[in-house]
Amino acid sequence: MTASLSPLIHLIDDDEAVREALALLIGTVGLRVETWSQPEAFLRGFDRSAIGAIVLDVRMPGISGISVLETLMAQGVDQPVVMLTGHGTVELCRRAFKSGAAEFLEKPVDDELLLDTLQQMVRRHVKSRQRNQASRDARERHAQLSPREREVLGLITEGLTNKEIGKALGLSPRTVETHRANLFAKLQVASLAQLIRQYADLVDGHDPAAPAA
C-alpha cells in the first residue's frame, strides 16, 4: 500500500461542467476526485497503485470510452471501471461488460445510485487488493521451501497421514513430522485447513497466476 490512504476516484469526461458537478457531488461523501479531460493524459498519468475506482464517459471526441476500457484491462489495471453514458443501448452495455467494466450507468445519473456504486467499487477494490497481496506472499513463501518440503506439502494436501507419507517417500514418520512442523512455520499457517486453502493451488505447478516456465 503506497501513496495515499483515502480512496481516489478518477473522473474522465470531455465536458467541463459535467466534470465539475460530478466531482462536487462525489466529494460530498468524502471520496477524493481527480478529473481528467482527455483519456490519453489519464492513461499516462494516473496512479495505478492507489485504491479507488474510475468513472469513464463513453462518448468522447477522438477516443471512445470502450477502447480506453480495453486499454486499461490490457494493462492489468485493477481499479473497477464505471462507464457513464448519455445514450445507453443494449449493445453498448453488452460491450462494456464484456470488455471488463464493473458497472454501467446512464446520464443524467442519480446521486444515490452513483455514490452507492462508487463506495461499493472502492470496497471491492480493497478486497481484491488484499486477496492479490495474500497470494503474492504465499507464492514467495512457497518458493522458499526445499524440494523435500514441497514433496511433503503435496502429500499433506492430498490428505495422507504421516505414516503414509513416510511410506511413500521412504522416510520415517518422525522425519515427516519434522518437515510438517517446518512447513507450518515457514508458510505461516495455523491449521491444516488454512494450509490446504492457501497452498493447494501452488502444489505441483497448478498455480494459475504463475508465469509460464
Binding site: 461542467a17 460530478l22 462536487l24 445514450h87 446520464k107
Partner: protein, 521 residues
C-alpha cells in the same frame, strides 16, 4: 435537373416509338384482314359470275341439241317434211346461221349462201351420230367463230352452223354492256383453238398497274355434242380495297392506344410523385433521426451537470454544519447549465427550419398545384368513394403565391389523404372534399374541407405535434411537417375553428394553408 429531363425525354421517346409500332402493327393486321376479306369476296363474286356464264352458254348449247333432235324426229316422217320450217330456224335462233339437210336421196342440201362445210359433210360423222344416237360436233375450228353440229337418223341428217359469238345471251349476262369494260375474260376452248367471247383484261386501256391475284375457272359446256371448255379468267381489283373501313380501324385502334397510353402515363406520374413524397419524408426522417441523436447527447451533458449540482447542494446543506458557500456555488452552476440546455434547444429550432432543403422558391399557382394533386390522387379518391372538387371564391380569383411548388403539393397531398382516410374510417358515404381557393389580406388561401367526422375538441391542440396520430398506422409526422413547411415559406397551416366551415353542408375538418401572395414588382 437538366440531365434528368433529357434522360426522361429520351425514355419517353422510346416509349412513343413502341406505341407507334404497336399502332402500325394493329393497323397492318386490320388492313390485312380487311384485304383478305375483300379478296375472298371478289373471288366468290368471280366464281359466281363464271358459273352463271357457264350455265347460260350451256343452256344455249343444249338448245342446239334440242333443235337437232326435233328436226331429226320430224325427218323420219319424210313425207310430212315441211321444207320451210327448217329454213326459218335462223330467225328464231340468231346463232344458227345455216341449216343443212341430208337425205340419202338428195345428199346435203342447204341455203346457197351457207353450204355445208366439207368437213361436216363426211359420212363418218353421220355414222357416228347414228351410233351414238345424238348430235355430234362437226368441223369446229373455234377461232373462226363458228362450228357445225349434226345429227343423223337412218336415211337423213340435219346440220346446224352455229355462230358462237351470237350464242352469247347478253341480256342475261352478269356483266353489263355486253361485257365491254369488264376485267373478266371469257373464252371457249376446244382442241387447241380458242374463241374469245369477252376480252376482259386484254382489252386496252384497262391494264392493271401491278401484277395481282388472278382468278380462274374452266368447265366444259354441259352439252354432249359441244364439250367446249368455258374458260373464265379475271384478276383481283386492288382499287376495291375498303379504304374507309381500314381508316376506321386505324382510327379506332389509335384511339384505344391513346387511351391506354394516357392511363399508363397517369399511373406512372402518380407513382413517381408518391415515390418523391416518400423519399422526401424519409430524408426528413433521417435528418430528424440525426438531429434527435445529436440532441440527446447535447442535452444530456447540461442535464447531468444540473442534476449532480443540485443533488450535491442538497447534501452539502444536509451536512452538520451545512456548507452553504459550496452549496451556493453548486446551485449557480446548476442554473448556468440549465441555460446551456435552453440554448441547445434554441439552436435546434432554427436548424430544423433550415434543415428543409427548400430547393425552389418561386411563384405557385394554387389552382394548378391543387389540380395536379387531384389528378394524381384520382384513383385513390375514386376507390374510397370520395368526390373532390376545386372551387374558387369568388370564381374568378386565381391566387398566385410565393413558395415552393413541390412543398405546396406535398401539403395538399397530405391534407387530402388525411381527409380521405378520416372519411373512410368513419364510413361516411358519399365522401366529399372541397378545396376552396380565396385571397385574404395579402395572402392566398387554400382550404381543404371534408364531410368526415372532424377533429375532437380535446385533440385540436395536439394534431400538429410531431408523433401524434389518431391512426393505428402512420408516424404522426404529416401535419407537423406540413406546418413547418408552410412556416418555412412564410405562411401558415391552421385548423379552422369547428362549426365555421364555409362549405355549408360539410361539417368535417377544415384546414387552411395561407401563403403570401406574389406581388408583381
Amino acid at each position: 435537373m437538366d440531365h434528368h429531363n433529357r434522360r426522361m425525354s429520351a425514355r419517353l421517346g422510346n416509349r412513343l416509338v413502341w406505341w407507334m409500332l404497336a399502332w402500325a402493327a394493329g393497323v397492318a393486321l386490320g388492313a390485312t384482314w380487311l384485304g383478305m376479306q375483300e379478296l375472298r369476296r371478289q373471288k366468290d363474286a368471280f366464281e359466281t359470275d363464271a358459273r352463271i356464264i357457264h350455265r347460260l352458254l350451256s343452256q344455249r348449247a343444249v338448245q342446239h341439241d334440242a333443235v337437232l333432235a326435233t328436226l331429226t324426229l320430224r325427218a323420219e316422217d319424210a313425207a310430212q317434211a315441211d321444207d320451210a320450217a327448217w329454213r326459218r330456224l335462223g330467225s328464231v335462233y340468231p346463232q344458227i346461221t345455216a341449216v343443212a339437210r341430208y337425205t340419202d336421196a338428195a345428199g346435203w342440201v342447204s341455203e346457197a349462201t351457207a353450204a355445208i362445210s366439207p368437213l361436216a359433210a363426211q359420212a363418218r360423222l353421220r355414222d357416228e351420230s347414228l351410233r351414238l344416237r345424238q348430235a355430234v360436233l362437226a368441223d369446229a375450228a373455234l377461232e373462226r367463230g363458228h362450228y357445225w353440229v349434226l345429227q343423223a337418223v337412218p336415211g337423213a341428217a340435219f346440220a346446224l352452223r352455229i355462230d358462237a359469238r351470237l350464242m352469247v345471251p347478253w341480256a342475261d349476262w352478269p356483266m353489263p354492256d355486253q361485257g365491254r369494260g369488264s376485267d373478266v375474260r371469257v373464252a371457249l376452248r376446244w382442241q387447241g383453238s380458242e374463241l374469245v367471247l369477252q376480252p376482259g383484261l386484254d382489252a386496252p386501256p384497262r391494264r392493271m398497274p401491278t401484277p395481282s391475284v388472278t382468278f380462274g375457272f374452266s368447265k366444259s359446256l354441259a352439252a354432249q355434242s359441244q364439250p367446249f371448255d368455258v374458260v373464265v379468267s379475271g384478276a383481283a381489283n386492288p382499287w376495291l380495297f375498303p379504304w374507309l373501313k381500314a381508316l376506321a380501324v386505324a382510327a379506332a385502334w389509335g384511339a384505344l392506344l391513346l387511351g391506354a397510353r394516357a392511363w399508363l402515363a397517369q399511373r406512372e406520374a402518380r407513382e413517381r410523385a408518391e415515390a418523391l413524397l416518400r423519399m422526401g419524408q424519409i430524408a426528413r426522417l433521417n435528418t430528424l433521426g440525426e438531429l434527435a441523436a445529436g440532441l440527446a447527447h447535447e442535452l444530456n451533458q447540461p442535464l447531468t451537470a444540473v442534476l449532480a449540482s443540485t443533488q450535491a447542494a442538497s447534501r452539502l446543506l444536509d451536512d452538520d454544519p451545512p456548507d452553504v458557500q459550496t452549496a451556493r456555488g453548486a446551485m449557480q452552476q446548476a442554473a448556468r447549465q440549465a441555460q446551456r440546455a435552453a440554448e441547445v434547444l434554441a439552436r435546434l429550432r432554427t436548424s430544423i427550419g433550415r434543415a428543409d432543403p427548400g430547393a425552389g422558391e418561386g411563384v405557385v399557382d394554387l389552382a394548378a398545384a391543387a389540380g395536379k394533386v387531384l389528378y394524381l390522387l384520382e384513383p385513390e379518391l375514386g376507390a374510397a368513394g370520395v368526390k373532390a372538387e376545386l372551387v374558387a371564391t369568388p370564381p374568378s380569383v386565381q391566387p398566385r403565391v410565393r413558395g415552393d411548388a413541390v412543398a405546396v403539393e406535398q401539403i395538399v397531398h397530405n391534407l387530402l389523404t388525411n381527409a380521405t382516410q378520416a372519411i373512410r374510417a368513419s364510413g361516411v358515404s358519399p365522401g366529399r372534399i372541397v378545396i376552396e381557393l380565396s385571397t385574404h389580406a395579402g395572402q392566398g388561401v387554400l382550404r381543404v374541407t371534408d364531410n368526415g367526422p372532424g377533429i375532437a375538441p380535446d385533440l385540436r391542440e395536439r394534431i400538429f405535434q410531431p408523433f401524434f396520430t389518431t391512426r393505428g398506422d402512420g408516424l404522426g409526422l404529416g401535419l407537423s411537417l406540413c406546418e413547418s413547411l408552410a412556416a418555412g415559406m412564410g405562411g401558415r397551416l391552421e385548423l379552422e375553428p369547428a362549426g365555421l366551415t364555409r362549405q355549408g353542408d360539410l361539417n368535417g375538418a377544415s384546414f387552411s394553408l395561407s401563403l403570401p401572395l406574389e406581388t408583381r414588382a
